[in-house]
Amino acid sequence: MEYIQQQFINIFGAEWGGMFYSVATNMTFILAIVVPLLLGVAYLTFAERKIIAYMQIRVGPNRVTFFGIPWLRGWGQPIADAVKAIMKEIVIPTGANKFLFILAPVLTIMPALAAWAVIPFSPEVVLADINAGLLYILAMTSMGIYGIIIAGWASNSKYAFLGAMRSAAQVVSYELAMGFALVCVLMMSQSLNFGDIVNGQQGDSLLNWYLIPLFPMFLVYLISGVAETNRAPFDVAEGESEIVAGFHVDYSGMAFTVFFLAEYSNMILVATLTSIMFLGGWLPPIDVAPLTLIPGFVWLLLKIAFILFFFLWFRATFPRYRYDQIMRLGWKIFIPITLVWIVILGLIMQLPESTRDVFPLNIWF
């Protein structure tokens, strides 16, 4: 690495060489995060189809394979789907606003990928170890809504517009509950940095994870995450039965696929954040020898996969919510629960030291 840095300094001079070197290394790190992420998205769609198929006593995709290997049947499906999406024509409706129509998918995928910058994958592996990581995530996820609104408006179609309106109202409502749930997490960890949040859950076993003192917040965050990503049972923004496919009804080919990629990478993001904030991130469940030898990255992946399974399970199990019930759940149930929990947490934190030492509060505070 130092040799390459020296080469940069030789070419661009002492002042600019270091800057260009850090830009180049950051680009490499970004690629190292985004490429596995997009592969993960591809195979998440495969996992979704397979898991839902087995839940409904079907087989799911079982044809496309690599080099004719029989036991890999179905594993080539996401790759085939990607190739198909790239080959298809992007149809732009005549009445659409061309510039915004093309801009909308870009605005959707941008925050979905940018949010990954502050995610720590193990104690050292993090692209940007910033102090305000949690706030950055909130800011980025709140920007994802622009793509949906613009897509709905630029398509110049009533179905798309209705889908965009529904989605905007839903995301803005659930963001509040989500934000308040995160306030509880940062009250526990007393830091906005994700590394510090995971280190705050360090202990002998999984009893130290924030899952237990913040269990209602875990549920609120997970369900709000499902609503925030417009997934079933909160997918009224798409609502095939009423408004065809919602905001992306007029999109085809790769433009549609970009929306699809953003939705799935947002799902993985919510799963990652849940496992970092409530399930101890890279920490093993019990701090004993065979489990601590497994690298932290593997534990994080296992936890992400566990939460993602919930997402797929919800989709296979629950019927779609009615729109007014979604709003009621967000505003009248989740926000009061989170507000009450913030007050309770604050009261516990203000208890005198001697009272807090009494079991079981002392392992978390």
């Binding site: 600019w16 305000a132 709140s142 517009f161």
Partner: protein, 201 residues
């Protein structure tokens, strides 16, 4: 000129261009989107000034919430551009006065030689583990606690007022009550009657 200066000039150019666009573009949706761009580049400039909390709060509050609702409304309105331009000359002197005040303020900063601002020391860069958010939180909740509470109460009053102004109870409204719907049991709706089966003849 170093790397930070280059970034500063790029961001400032985008900021000025998009701010100009907000007031000159004819399509109100475009101008709302340009305002979003202006906010985001402004947040970038604040990051260069080591004000990361303010920068992220700007994106979170204005871009993530306020402008979304703004765009929401602008897209649904059928805005008549001619009516929008009607009062231009009537309000022009007022706007010009505000613009003049802003020009004077900016020139006081830029031409600091004539206003004695050069005695102000340049702020020292902070060390790496300095947390902007933590310092801001400490100040708000200790020294400026009363001002902060006052601002919060003001916001609360505005919120209550907005709801009170728009809330209308209609008597003839037919809407289901979800909690009552959920509470319904089988016995409330159906009556199971047992009767002997009929003979076929």
């Amino acid at each position: 000129m170093n790397f930070q200066d280059v970034i500063f000039y790029i961001f400032s150019a985008i900021l000025v261009a998009s701010a100009l666009g907000v007031i000159t573009v004819r399509n109100p949706v475009y101008s709302a989107l340009l305002l979003v761009l202006a906010f985001v580049t402004c947040a970038g400039l604040w990051l260069l000034l080591e004000a990361e909390f303010l920068a992220i709060a700007l994106v979170l509050v204005y871009v993530g919430a306020v402008m979304v609702l703004f765009l929401f409304v602008v897209m649904m309105l059928d805005i008549n551009l001619d009516r929008l331009r009607e009062g231009f000359w009537k309000w022009f002197p007022f706007g010009a006065l505000i613009a003049l005040a802003m020009v004077i303020e900016i020139s006081m900063v830029l031409m600091n030689k004539y206003f004695g601002l050069e005695e102000m020391p340049t702020p020292k860069p902070h060390e790496a583990d300095y947390s902007n958010t933590r310092e801001l939180g400490r100040l708000i909740y200790t020294e400026y606690a009363y001002a902060f509470e006052l601002a919060a109460v003001l916001l609360l009053v505005a919120m209550v007022a907005a709801i009170a102004l728009t809330l209308r109870h209609r008597e003839d409204k037919k809407s289901p009550n979800p909690s009552e719907q959920v509470k319904v049991r089988k016995e409330d709706r159906i009556r199971i009657v047992t009767m002997p089966s009929e003979k076929k003849d």
